[in-house]
């Protein structure tokens, strides 16, 4: 229930500053570790080695005991224990105790850096948000949000390893010195696929210095862009220019970014970005998706076709054929299914009709042939060019060898010393047939830089712990090539950490001295000099542009150069006819390729489609699962009596296990039913199953390998061994056998249909002749869908006012409200994780999630809907594809009901309304009767069943050991905590409060600004003019955590009383809908929620065979 003492700024650092975060402070760089020792005696600082871990905790307790005892003897302690205020010795500039400081930085990623604004408290980075000034700003995704946790991760690598054992820095220094001195060294470098101008510059210098140096790039999920588009060429989509989009298994909205996403989502709204235009279907884009399993992008699609991955080439070829590119597809067999053919042809017509304004995107992991066809189709449609939806650009990351070349060079002794700098984990995630580990063993020295002691780290000669991007200087480019700086917020938490640029700089120096973190006597890191030098070439010399870069985080006028398309003309290779099942090795929304396996937030964030946490599973369509004999009946989307599914529910849920054999390899894995997936397709997300310990009952792999931390251990199944270089995305010809075993599955959502309740509403822009009218009429009737069509009006006998006749919601300045646009929301987890990091929400572990005790304040409901209802009714036989339901997500957090049922039932007044319309929750008053949560129709409240913040939930059975359980102190990410939010103890309720800490801070800031303004005018304070405008926060200036994280810009938050706010376009002053699409969830119970929703608009093509069934998720409910 408490913020921890050490979070108080009074008890903060001793000598001078905490970190360097700007050029102005570099001179003053402190002895950081001394500070850390004092600041976090129980924390990370002392635990530089595994051995220290136990002792440090013990000594901490001893220290605590001693100070309490001393206090007990002192006279003063007769009244209360003494506590101390420890001010800075020399107060650093810029640091104001208790106030957040914000810095612009970015997160380097393969698909282009994510520009960020980092919130820091006294030097601790705690929260990431999108840098909205940045031209490529597009919110953040769950990975970016969760990356701050990695900085403090208990399983983070923190010691230098030599052959898996702790190594000495001096010994490594010898290696570096020898290398730096040897210009003919056979040295190789493997980078990630992210683009860093400084690295590219240093690569050139390295090539100049080391004549035999070789450079490679490797990521587990690299596409064939280099092969199709050309050396270092990438494609960037500009969705604002695209009217028609075809996604060929390309999850561009989420896991396979092709360019900034916000413009795409903005064009999903018929009213335009600011909701200020009349709803116009023509302004919307139209998305066609052809994919094997639901992706976030596929869920957004207006028309979606599900095909097995091996059929994708056929679909692409049919489009090409329709556009007259017959020559390219002569080898590909035509599609025979008449229904599919009709669908594809109608779509191709639509694309053609919007030539120059359409966009065809093929998934970057698809085989070359599909990619080549997509490029040819785009070219044929005239979509490529500077002012066209698709731009081909040349990056600096050129002439990098791939994994095959690396292996050849290793095997041929062309490379003797290898620097593995890629964020991927090649020993684990390289194609199984490549046998990379064997090649790696041939290198004389392998120096691995990484944040985790993963399989590759342990297989390398040297493992150097990587500095987090929030701890190091670097630079990067966003997808369109805007130069973006990566600045450190804090010195590396551990001595041994180094960054990539520091390693490269060391090699470039004459003596090969590895300088990390800071240079000697407070000098800047060599990486700082390197970045500054690179920037001088791009942004100009002098301190002004540099300061601007550090302030803004980017250099605006720097983008990639556009290159012409190198359109293929040779016929693409055909795929052999598929037999057996197709297996898709999919990208995972929680661990990506496995690199986030030790990130507890991501592990606990439910998969956006399957809603599974902490594991992966083989996803199989219901019909296919029945055909396989796994289930006796087809697993229904909805049962009329809401019975539990065949796999059980909650803590009893288990999945049947099957053995998947493909290419001679086998994997035993749990099965989960996945709706809307192509038949005969098994989707297995990659990246799990990296390590196991004695708690694993399923013999999923070697135990106690040390390749994974407490978070990732025993999670999921490793599908990488099934994957070969040729089948890097999907394999065909798989066979399946039942094993009879069952695996426990922790799923946050057990029921997938709306059960006839119009919750997440949908309309269509066309009149499909079902008496629901045209777009305008459907818009008009959004509020009358479902039960709201016939529920009587809510009338209250009460006047909501106090004794003095003042209304309850008496604040005349601010009344907060929020809307969530389901037309934009795709259901990813960005908001959920952002909320977790802003509000100190604990992680609870797999078994607790299975019991239904996850603490996320935002529950991302995901519903599947069929136009004829979900129970396999007769009408469904008529629809185009009954196996392809619509997917509608609906994030539900506390909706801040004006008439909140939770409040009246609390016996101790722990949850009451504030004057500005929030449903406040006083944690320290709560005694935990849980009545409020029972009475919450939205089930938006979360209860601390255990001391999740004090007991480590990741140790098996630990929570149930109570006072004997292992404590969290020193092992959990305490330093990430937001000091402005109480950390809740066990037995109290918690929930969303619209980030009330931000609202309060903004109000106080506004009042201070008003005072300064008035005093600056030289007037006595008694004559200051104060009115609504001076006291009210400027419209839309305060943003809540979920809102600023949203990569779809789907959340509008604002002040209902401020006519300038965007919210007022949607909602009136008295919290009534203004925009037609706006509706209240569960309106009939009369809770008057402040968070409302905007119905999803589907924009189908009338000529498509399935057009009549689009946008019908809820419209027929009554």
């Amino acid at each position: 229930m408490s913020k921890r003492i050490w979070q108080h700024p009074e008890a903060s650092a001793d000598d001078n500053t905490v970190s360097w975060r700007g050029v102005g402070q570099l001179e003053d760089t402190p002895a950081f570790r001394t500070w850390l020792d004092r600041e976090f005696p129980q924390g990370v600082a002392e635990m530089s080695g595994e051995d220290d871990l136990e002792t440090s905790r013990r000594s901490f307790l001893k220290l605590m005991g001693a100070s309490t005892a001393l206090a007990g003897f002192g006279m003063a302690a007769c009244r209360r224990p003494e506590s101390y205020i420890v001010p800075y010795n020399k107060a650093p500039e810029w640091v104001i105790p208790g106030k957040a400081t914000y810095y612009a930085s970015s997160m380097p990623r393969a698909a282009g850096a994510t520009p960020l604004v980092v919130t820091t408290f006294e030097g601790r980075p705690t929260k990431l948000a999108a840098n909205t000034l940045h031209p490529d700003a597009s919110g953040t995704d769950a990975f970016a949000q969760a990356s701050v946790l990695d900085l403090y991760s208990p399983s983070r690598s923190r010691t230098l390893l030599k052959q898996g054992k702790p190594g000495s820095r001096d010994e490594l220094a010898v290696v570096f010195a020898e290398l730096a001195a040897d210009a003919s060294a056979k040295v190789g470098f493997v980078f990630g696929r992210d683009v860093s101008p400084t690295r590219s510059r240093l690569v050139k210098e390295l090539a100049a210095k080391f004549s035999a140096a070789k450079f490679y790039a490797y990521e587990a999920f690299e596409g064939s862009a280099d092969k199709v588009l050309g050396n270092g060429v990438r494609q960037v989509a500009d969705f604002s220019k695209a009217d028609r989009i075809l996604s060929l298994d390309c999850d561009f909205a989420s896991l396979d970014p092709q360019g900034p996403t916000v413009p795409f989502f903005v064009r999903r709204r018929p009213e335009g970005k600011g909701y200020d235009k009349k709803a116009d279907a023509a302004s919307m884009n139209r998305l066609y998706a052809v994919e094997s399993a639901f992706s976030m992008t596929g869920g957004m699609a207006d028309h979606r076709l599900r095909v097995a991955p091996s059929q994708l080439l056929g679909v692409a070829a049919q489009v090409a054929r329709k556009l007259g590119l017959n020559g390219l597809v002569s080898n590909v067999a035509p599609i025979t299914d008449a229904k599919q053919l009709e669908w594809i042809n109608a779509m191709a017509d639509d694309l053609q009709a919007s030539g120059g304004k359409s966009l065809v995107l093929a998934g970057s992991r698809l085989p070359e042939a599909v990619q080549a066809l997509a490029l040819a189709i785009n070219d044929k449609l005239g979509n490529i060019g500077d002012d066209k939806p698709l731009r081909l650009v040349r990056t600096e990351a050129q002439d990098l060898g791939d994994l095959a070349q690396l292996q050849a060079d290793l095997d041929g002794d062309v490379v003797e010393t290898l620097f593995l700098l890629t964020p991927a984990n090649p020993v684990f995630d390289a194609p199984a047939d490549a046998e990379f580990a064997a090649s790696l063993a041939k290198a004389k020295t392998v120096i691995h830089l990484g944040p985790r002691t993963d399989a590759t780290a342990l297989a390398s000669t040297w493992h150097v712990p990587a500095a987090h991007y929030l701890e190091s200087w670097s630079d990067a480019r966003t997808s369109s090539g805007v130069y973006t700086v990566v600045q450190p917020m804090i010195l590396p938490l551990y001595d041994a950490c180094a960054s990539e640029l520091e390693l490269l700089s060391a090699l470039l120096s004459d003596d090969g001295k590895l300088l990390t973190g800071e240079g000697e006597e407070g000098k800047a890191s060599p990486a700082y000099d390197a970045v500054k030098k690179t920037f001088e070439a791009i942004g100009g010399k002098g301190s002004e542009p540099w300061k601007k870069l550090l302030r803004d985080g980017f250099h605006a006028s720097s983008t990639y150069e556009t290159v012409a398309a190198n359109v293929p003309s040779a016929p693409v290779a055909a795929v052999p006819e598929a037999k057996g099942y197709d297996v898709v090795f999919s990208t995972d929304a929680s661990v990506f390729d496995g690199r986030w396996i030790d990130n507890a937030w991501l592990q606990e964030a439910p998969d956006p489609i399957s809603k599974m946490t902490w594991d992966n599973a083989a996803l199989i369509a219901p019909q296919t699962a029945k055909d396989m004999g796994i289930y006796d009946e087809i697993v229904a989307l909805e049962t009329w009596n809401s019975s539990t599914g065949p796999d059980g529910e909650g803590e009893h849920r288990t999945g049947p296990m099957i053995k998947v054999s493909v290419g001679g390899k086998e994997l035993e894995i749990a099965v989960m039913i996945s709706f809307g997936q192509a038949e005969n397709t098994i989707v297995i997300p990659l990246g799990y199953g990296q390590g196991f310990d004695k708690e694993d009952e399923f013999d999923r792999g070697a135990k106690d390998t040390g390749t994974v931390g407490l978070v990732g251990v025993n999670t999921g199944f490793n599908a990488y061994p099934l994957r070969t270089a040729a089948t890097s995305y999907f394999a065909t010809g798989a066979t399946v056998a039942k094993t009879g075993r069952r695996y426990p599955i922790a799923c946050v959502q057990e029921h997938h249909a709306m059960y006839g309740r119009a919750l997440a509403r949908e309309i269509s822009t066309i009149d499909s002749g079902d008496h629901k009218g045209d777009f305008e009429e459907q818009l008009h009737n959004v509020k009358k869908q479902g039960m709201d069509a016939h529920a009587p009006k809510n009338i209250s006998l009460y006047k909501t006012e106090g004794k003095d006749g003042k209304p309850h919601l008496s604040d005349p300045l601010h009344q907060w409200g929020m809307t969530i646009d389901l037309s934009s929301c795709m259901g990813c987890n960005a908001c959920l994780v952002a909320c977790q990091s802003e509000n100190n929400i604990p992680v609870v572990g797999k078994s607790q999630v299975a019991r239904g005790r996850e603490m996320h304040w935002i529950r991302m409901d995901r519903y599947y809907a069929l136009p004829g209802g979900n129970q396999g009714e007769k009408e469904n036989d008529k629809i185009f594809d009954p196996g392809n339901p619509a997917l509608v997500p609906q994030p539900v957090a506390c909706v801040q009901c004006e008439s909140a049922p939770c409040e009246t039932v609390c016996p101790v007044n722990a949850t009451v309304h504030t004057e500005d319309g929030l449903n406040a929750m006083a944690y320290n008053r709560c005694i935990g009767t849980r009545y409020c949560a029972n009475n919450c129709p939205y089930k938006a409240r979360r209860f601390n069943f255990f001391d999740y913040n004090k007991r480590n939930p990741l140790v098996a059975h630990n929570l149930y050991r109570g006072p004997f359980g292992e404590k969290q102190v020193g092992e959990a990410p305490h330093l990430q905590r937001n000091p402005n939010v109480s950390v809740r103890m066990r037995g109290v309720m918690e929930k969303c409060t619209y980030c009330v800490q931000r609202l309060k801070d903004a109000k106080i800031r506004q009042k201070r600004g008003q005072k300064q303004e008035a005093l600056a005018a030289g007037k006595p304070s008694t004559e200051m003019t104060v009115n609504t405008h001076t006291l009210r926060i400027p419209a839309d200036s305060v943003r809540v955590a979920c809102q600023e994280a949203c990569p779809a810009d789907a959340i509008v938050f604002g002040n209902l009383l401020d006519s300038d706010s965007t919210l007022r376009k949607i909602r009136s002053e008295d919290n009534q809908p203004v925009l037609e699409r706006n509706y209240d969830l569960l309106q009939y119970i009369g809770t008057k929620p402040r968070t409302s929703y905007l119905a999803r608009v589907k924009n189908p093509n009338e000529k498509m065979p399935d057009a009549a069934f689009i946008g019908k998720a809820t419209i027929h409910m009554h």
Partner: protein, 498 residues
Amino acid sequence: MATATEHAPSPSRQGPKLPVLEREKLILNGRSYHWITERICGVLENRQPFLWWLLFIPSALIAMIGVGLGLTYLVSTGVGVWGMSNRSFWGWDITNFVFWIGIGHAGTLISAVLFLTRQNWRTSINRAAEAMTIFAVMCAGIFPAFHVGRVWMAWFLAPIPNANAIWQNFKSPLLWDVFAVSTYFTISLIFWYLGMVPDLATIRDRCKPGLRKMLYGIFAMGWRGGNRQWSHYEMAYLLLAALSTPLVLSVHSVVSFDFATSIVPGWHTTIFPPYFVAGAIFGGFAMVLTIMVPARTLYGLQDLITMKHIDNMAKIILLTGTIVGYAYLMELFVAYYSGAKYEMDAFKFRITGPYWWAYLAMMSCNVLSPQFFWFKACRENLWVVMAVAMCVNAGMWFERFVIIVGTLGRMFLPGDWKTYSPSWVEIALFVGTIGMFLALFLLFLRFLPCINIAEVKWTLRESDPHFDDHHDHPDHGAAVEPAYQHELHSKDAAEAKA
């Protein structure tokens, strides 16, 4: 006053002589005052039968383990050791609370309502039923007190002036509950104790000097049985009965408000208060039967607790069971008639959803099983009576389970649906409270008069000060034969004829 109605029609009234049937005697075999004293005091003065120990030792052990250890583990570790989730925030805890508090209603009801309606047959059972009330409320109180997440902060529920200047929310049904249950416990305790004072004096007067005499003497407070005491005492008893009657109705109404005032579909219905009260009487009488029938045999109290008592209670169970059954059906109708999807579904899912077995158990135990009591043969067969009473006990537990668990797992948004299942800690705690209840009741039998001695004496015919006058004016038209036996005789005669 059983005999009062047997008075002859007034001499002035002329007309055909109607056969006036004598009421069945409440005390059989013409027992004397002293016999009654001996018999009842004998229960606690004699050595306890072996069966007593056989029941007491395991009950006490179960209570210590289930309640003692269960609560220790719960408080030290967190509510998470139970099975609740962020969907079903209540489970067995509140189910058990409502179950026990329901049982706790029969005692006061028998004492108060039957007293006010001059049902003299209550005198044989009211003491035990009141004791049962006290113990059931004690068991019930454990659950709401310890289900809260921070028990050590539960004093926030008490309106104590404090430096934080913050108070309770008097609009919360839970706070009403706190007041209602604690008031109910207090008043029941006063009622029970006051009713026991003359009997404690009886025991005191039979004791040899010693610790026993001192304790009974202290608790008898020097009772002398003077009419100047009886006069006030009778008034006080009447007042307490008059106060307890609305109280007992209000307590279960307030408990039902926990559900009825919420917006949860399936809870939010106006039928709940009467339905809960009827259910409480129903369940309470079943529990009285469950306990008294064996105790009666164990201690040879057949002359005091006669088949008539059992017959009466069986009839009340039949009546209230039918009311409860009506309420079940009415709920369904109201849900259907509301036209609200969520309401209709709530009941549909209760009946056919994941907890259909609980609903089935509830319906068959509560509505069907009491129907046996339409038949006299069933009411007279103690095995049938016991079986039905046990069914009703279980059925009433299932009723609360259906209402709480069956509803919370399937509320408004299908996205949050998840079923609940209890953990072993919850089960142990419930079993522990059963043990605690039995142990306390056995202790009660061991140390306190289990039948109201003074009042039972008062039901004897000769207790009437005009008993002798009655003989002075014999009623020639009255057939001095118990009505019940008369009926039997005429039946026999009819059978013989046939």
